[in-house]
């Protein structure tokens, strides 16, 4: 296959304890550490492994987001992506918008495979892969934990609620990466230097004839209700007593 496209979203790092803005207009992102969405790292790692097995010629990282998402695309280039494309917008990007943008890039680049993370850890929406597959009218395999390319098709194992499901899809197709698909590589310093010379195109979202205006209006963002403070018990006997009182064990 010639090309694999990988979605790379800039998100608040997974170690950050996210706080809601006092005015309820969103969460605090100023001065907060930002990273590549962990599931997108897994998606990229998989694309790189497919390429390294000789089954693909080029891996392209694509981000839809603010100008600063160039940082995350540089990380993707350092990991091994051949080139990167940023479709720039200052708006908050809804999954449907991301899918519409990715479709434009797909139409231009004609990849045989698109891999994205199964969800982004900011909005936790888990929509982009199926939405892109729908708009492209191609197969989808979400929550992948194993991908085998077999010429013009692929056999994919998916993590579903009952266990593991295997499906077969014709290419081109859209896959979404689950946690256990692989373990992403660490980026080494020389790779970061090399990545600076790799091509990174920046296009305005508006220039694609699309708008990033959200279809869903966020009315209010609030912190979750706190759980009431619990008690510490000193031993097993006290624990079992407490559970019995609540009627949870007999």
């Amino acid at each position: 296959m010639r090309k694999i496209l990988v979605g790379v979203k800039r998100v608040v790092d997974y170690n950050v304890r996210v706080r809601v803005k006092p005015d309820g207009s969103g969460v605090i992102t100023d001065g907060v550490k930002m990273s590549v969405n962990p599931f997108d790292e897994i998606a990229l790692e998989e694309a790189l492994r497919i390429k390294e097995r000789g089954e693909a010629a080029e891996v392209i990282a694509v981000s839809v987001g603010p100008d600063d998402a160039q940082q995350q695309l540089r990380t993707a280039l350092a990991m091994g992506a051949d080139r990167a494309i940023l479709v720039k917008t200052a708006e908050l990007v809804e999954p449907l918008t991301a899918a519409r943008v990715l479709l434009k890039v797909v139409e231009k680049e004609q990849p045989e495979l698109v891999i994205v993370g199964k969800q982004a850890i900011d909005d936790d929406a888990a929509q982009t892969a199926p939405m892109l597959a729908a708009l492209w009218d191609r197969p989808q395999a979400t929550f992948c934990s194993k991908i085998e390319i077999q010429g013009g098709s692929a056999r994919v194992t998916r993590e579903v609620d009952a266990g593991l499901e295997t499906i077969e899809v014709d290419l081109p197709a859209v896959f979404s990466a689950d946690l256990r698909l692989n373990e992403p590589r660490y980026v080494k310093l020389p790779d970061i230097m090399k990545a600076k010379k790799k091509p990174l195109d920046v296009i305005e979202l508006g220039s694609l004839g699309l708008s990033a205006e959200p279809g869903l209006k966020p009315v209010l963002t609030e912190p979750p209700k706190p759980r009431s403070k619990g008690v510490m018990v000193k031993d097993v006997a006290e624990l079992v007593d407490a559970l019995k009182k609540k009627g949870l064990v007999s």
């Binding site: 304890r17 809601v20 969460v27 939405m131 197969p139 979400t142 499901e165 899809v169 979750p224 097993v236």
Partner: protein, 314 residues
């Protein structure tokens, strides 16, 4: 008036309890009439179960050989065809619903609300973001179809006792052949189902081996509980993937959740926030799991589990 279509989830024989929870959400939508759609090779048994859910006005069935296994690419065009007469399309936010509904939404050209956790109006819902650390109220345009997945842990299952009529429909939608089901390896066990069990005992990295993780299975059996696991325990191969609890595993709301040797990372906590009683057993008194626990016990699990089994046997 809202006409709400709930897509049933099932294994060909049994309706998934997540669908009964989704029906409860659908019933809370103001002015809503609830229809459950069953896509299957032979929908009769599942349709009969759906018809019994309280508050369901009608069950529609779409019988076709290509519906024998739930493939999103095959189901989506059929759901879109059926959705023409409805204002809302809902499904549980399970692996099934998360796979299917965004495909439906995109075909309809509308955004989707994922993991609806409360109904604030016919087109207004709350949903968790950032692993449950920020709750967002979203308003969808009232003049478009609304597509949403429903967070099962936020709604009780609809009661039984109903007797909705069942209507078979034939759809003209063309279905693709580019996606083919091969197999499913589902762990068959007589243990309670993690997603719906009233009691859950979970083990973490501290169990340190697959053999030791048996301690969790045995304790769970004694308590009549389902088994869960942290991501670390699943990644290490101590427990199968379908037992992972958390942001990227199952989100559950049991009466009792017992976390053993689990530190309480935010990604894990988001999966258990709605549990009624959380018990934490951990040797580190500073472990974040104690911040959410109703009952905490500091100590070595390898001592505590046998003691607990003994105390429960009395």
């Amino acid at each position: 008036m809202s006409k709400i279509l709930v897509i049933a989830e099932h294994d060909g024989k049994k309706l998934n309890q997540a669908t009964a929870r989704c029906v409860t959400c659908a019933r809370q939508i103001p002015g809503g009439a609830v229809t459950v759609a069953v896509f299957a090779a032979d929908p009769a048994a599942v349709a009969a179960q759906a018809a019994q859910l309280a508050g369901v006005q009608e069950v529609v069935t779409v019988a076709a050989a290509h519906n024998a296994n739930a493939l999103a690419a095959v189901l989506a065009p059929q759901v879109v065809a059926l959705a023409a007469d409805y204002s809302h399309v809902l499904a549980a936010s399970t692996a099934f619903g998360k796979d299917l509904l965004p495909r439906v939404a995109a075909l309809l050209g509308v955004p989707q609300i994922s993991d609806a956790m409360s109904v604030e109006g016919a087109h207004k819902f709350k949903r968790p973001t950032y692993a449950g650390n920020a709750i967002v109220t979203l308003e969808a345009p009232a003049d478009r179809k609304l597509v949403a997945t429903v967070r099962s842990a936020s709604f009780e299952a609809a009661a039984g006792g109903g007797s909705a009529p069942v209507r078979a429909v034939t759809l003209a939608a063309a279905v693709p052949s580019h996606t083919r089901f091969v197999s499913i390896s589902a762990a068959t066990s007589d243990r309670p189902d993690l997603a719906s069990a009233p009691k859950v005992v979970s083990g973490g990295r501290a169990l340190a081996s697959k053999e030791n993780f048996d301690l969790i299975f045995k304790l769970a059996e004694k308590m009549g509980a389902a088994v869960g696991a942290s991501r670390a325990a699943v990644d290490a191969g101590y427990a199968p993937n379908e037992l992972q609890v958390g942001q990227t595993g199952k989100i559950i709301a049991p009466e009792l959740y017992v976390a053993i040797g689990i530190s309480g990372a935010i990604q894990h906590l988001t999966g258990i926030k709605d549990a009624k009683t959380i018990v934490a057993i951990n040797k580190d008194a500073e472990a974040p799991i104690f911040e959410v626990a109703d009952l905490g016990l500091v100590g070595d699990l390898f001592q505590i589990i046998p003691e607990l089994e003994k105390a429960l046997a009395k």
